[in-house]
C-alpha cells in the first residue's frame, strides 16, 4: 500500500506542503501571525515562550522550534525573531540546520526596524517559498514513510472502551507495514509501567521507560502533585474505573499491542520504525507539539467529550466512541468510533473504515480542524519563567 506525499531534500516525506512562518519567541508571534495571514500556503502559531526560561525549558523550546521547521509537512521556513530573546536567531537557525537542509529565510525585527518592515520582508520571503512549494507535486510512497502520533483528551468512559483500543488497532496495522506509531502522554503511563516495561524490545528500552515514568512522577511530586494518591479520581470511580492500572491501561491501549522499539525525550527526532514512546505531558496541545517536532506527519486523537484541537502543520484526525458527542460535536469530530461499542460492525471492519479516513487525510483531504483553520499549539514547560 502507498500514499501520496511530498519528497523533501532531506529524504523525508510530507503529507502537507506548508510554508512555516516560525516565531522564535513570544515577541515575534504577532508579526508571524500577520505574515501568515497575508500569504496563501503559509501557516504560523503563537509561541508563548522563547525567552526568560530555565535551561531545561529552553531545550524543549529549541527542540520544538527546530523540529517544527524540520517536520516533513513543511516545505520551507521563514524564522522571525525579535533580536534580543534567549532563543537567538543564529541558535534557532543552527538547530534547524542540524535537522534539515530545507529552504530557510530569516527576519530579525530589531535589525530591519520594527513590526511593519519585518512584516513586509517576511511576506516577501513567505511568498517566494509558497510559490516554490506550489510547483511541487505529490508522489507515491510506501506506508513505511509514515509516522503517526496518538493522543487522547477530553476522555470519558467510552475512550478506554472504544476509541483508544481502535487507535491501537490502527497502530498495529501501521507497525506491521513497517511504519512508525508514537505512544505519548507519560502522565498516563503511571500505574501501567510494569506492562509497558514488559513490552520493551530490550533492557535499555525497558530501563528508559521506567526512568521517564519515575522522572515524571518526581517532577509532579516536587510541586505537590501525588499521582498515585489522587487516582483514580472520585469522578473516575463514579464512572466505573476501579484502579489506577485500569485507568492507565485504557490510555496506553491506543498504542496497540506491538513491542516498544525506542523511547524519545520530548520533541526529539523519531528515527526508529515500529511502536515507540515519546515522553510528553498529558496536556493535548503540548503533547502533540512534541510528536510533530519529532516528525509525525499525522495525529489520531481520541476524545470522549469532543475537543477542538488541531495543529498548524499536521492534520489531527479526531475520533469519539461516544455517540452523543458524535452528534453534538460534529464540526470538531472526524470519525464515529461508537460502533465499537454498539455494533453492528466488527472491530476489524471499523478499523478498515478508520484506516480509510487516515489514508484519505494523508493523501490531502482536510480534517475538521484544518477546515476550521485551527493552529493553536503549546510547548511543554517544567518551570515558571526565570
Amino acid at each position: 500500500m502507498t500514499f501520496s506525499g511530498y519528497r523533501r531534500p532531506d529524504g523525508r516525506v510530507g503529507v502537507r506542503n506548508h510554508v512555516l512562518v516560525l516565531p522564535a519567541s513570544v515577541c515575534a508571534s504577532d508579526v508571524t501571525d500577520k505574515i501568515a495571514r497575508r500569504v496563501e500556503g503559509a501557516v504560523s502559531f503563537h509561541n508563548q515562550v522563547g525567552c526568560s526560561q530555565v535551561p531545561a525549558d529552553e531545550v524543549w523550546t529549541m527542540d520544538v522550534l527546530s523540529g517544527y521547521a524540520a517536520n516533513p509537512n513543511v516545505y520551507g521556513t521563514v524564522v522571525v525573531s525579535l533580536g534580543c530573546e534567549n532563543c537567538q536567531m543564529d541558535r534557532v537557525v543552527a538547530a534547524i540546520r542540524e535537522k534539515t537542509n530545507k529552504p530557510l529565510r530569516q527576519v530579525i525585527i530589531q535589525e530591519v526596524g520594527g513590526t511593519l518592515k519585518a512584516e513586509a520582508l517576511g511576506v516577501q520571503y513567505a511568498e517566494e517559498l509558497a510559490q516554490e512549494a506550489a510547483q511541487q507535486e505529490r508522489e507515491e510512497f510506501p506506508l513505511s514513510e509514515l509516522i503517526l502520533g496518538t493522543e487522547c483528551g477530553g476522555s470519558d468512559p467510552t475512550s478506554g472502551l472504544a476509541a483508544n483500543p481502535l487507535i491501537g488497532e490502527i497502530c498495529d496495522r501501521l507497525v506491521d507495514a513497517d511504519a512508525t506509531a508514537i505512544l505519548s502522554e507519560t502522565t498516563e503511563f503511571i500505574g501501567a509501567e510494569h506492562i509497558l516495561a514488559r513490552r520493551a524490545i530490550n533492557k535499555e528500552v525497558r530501563d528508559r521507560i521506567l526512568f521517564i515514568i519515575q522522572r515524571y512522577e518526581e517532577s509532579l511530586a516536587r510541586v505537590g502533585e501525588l499521582v498515585r494518591n489522587g487516582n483514580p479520581s472520585p469522578g473516575n470511580i463514579a464512572g466505573g474505573i476501579t484502579t489506577l492500572e485500569e485507568k492507565s491501561l485504557g490510555c496506553i491501549h491506543k498504542g496497540g499491542h506491538r513491542d516498544i522499539q525506542a523511547v524519545y525525550d520530548y520533541a526529539r527526532p523519531v528515527d526508529k520504525k515500529g511502536l515507540v514512546i515519546m515522553d510528553t505531558p498529558g496536556n493535548d496541545p503540548s503533547s502533540i507539539a512534541g510528536m510533530v517536532a519529532g516528525g509525525a506527519q499525522v495525529i489520531i486523537f481520541s476524545s470522549g467529550r469532543g475537543t477542538p484541537t488541531g495543529h498548524p502543520l499536521v492534520p489531527v484526525i479526531k475520533i469519539t466512541g461516544n455517540r452523543e458527542t458524535w452528534l453534538k460535536m460534529r464540526d470538531n469530530t472526524d470519525f464515529d468510533a461508537s460502533p465499537v461499542i454498539y455494533g453492528p460492525q466488527s472491530l476489524a471492519e471499523i478499523t478498515d473504515d478508520l484506516f480509510g479516513i487516515l489514508m484519505e487525510t494523508v493523501n490531502g483531504k482536510k480534517t475538521r480542524a484544518e477546515e476550521l483553520g485551527f493552529v493553536e499549539t503549546a510547548i511543554a514547560r517544567v518551570s515558571n519563567y526565570a
Binding site: 472502551l161 510494569h194 492500572e245 454498539y342
Partner: protein
C-alpha cells in the same frame, strides 16, 4: 441485544454500556465473534464492570488482557466488579 463490551479474549470482566438491573441479561461479543450472556446478579451501572465468570477471592481481575487488581472477595458471574470487591495491587517489575 448486545449491552456490554469485553476488550480482550482473556478478560474475566466486561463493561455494561447501559444501566442493567439485577435479573436482566448481560450480552457481549468476544473478539472471536462469539456471543455470550450471563444474568446480572446485582444492578450494574452504565460503564461499570461485571464478572463474566465466577472469580475466586485472590484471583487476578483481567481487563485489556492485563491485571487491573485482585478479587478481594469471591465474585459471581454477573456481579458488579468495583472498588468494593477489588484490591489494587502494585505489581512487581519483572
Amino acid at each position: 441485544m448486545r449491552n456490554a463490551v469485553i476488550i480482550s479474549q482473556t478478560d474475566n470482566v466486561a463493561v455494561a454500556v447501559e444501566p442493567v438491573s439485577a435479573g436482566a441479561l448481560l450480552t457481549w461479543i468476544t473478539p472471536d465473534q462469539t456471543e455470550h450472556s450471563v444474568t446480572a446478579v446485582t444492578d450494574i451501572p452504565i460503564y461499570h464492570k461485571f464478572a463474566v465468570r465466577d472469580i475466586a477471592k485472590g484471583e487476578k481481575i483481567v481487563k485489556y488482557g492485563e491485571h487491573i487488581g485482585e478479587a478481594g472477595a469471591d465474585i459471581r458471574a454477573g456481579e458488579h466488579v468495583h472498588i468494593h470487591n477489588v484490591v489494587s495491587v502494585r505489581e512487581k517489575l519483572v
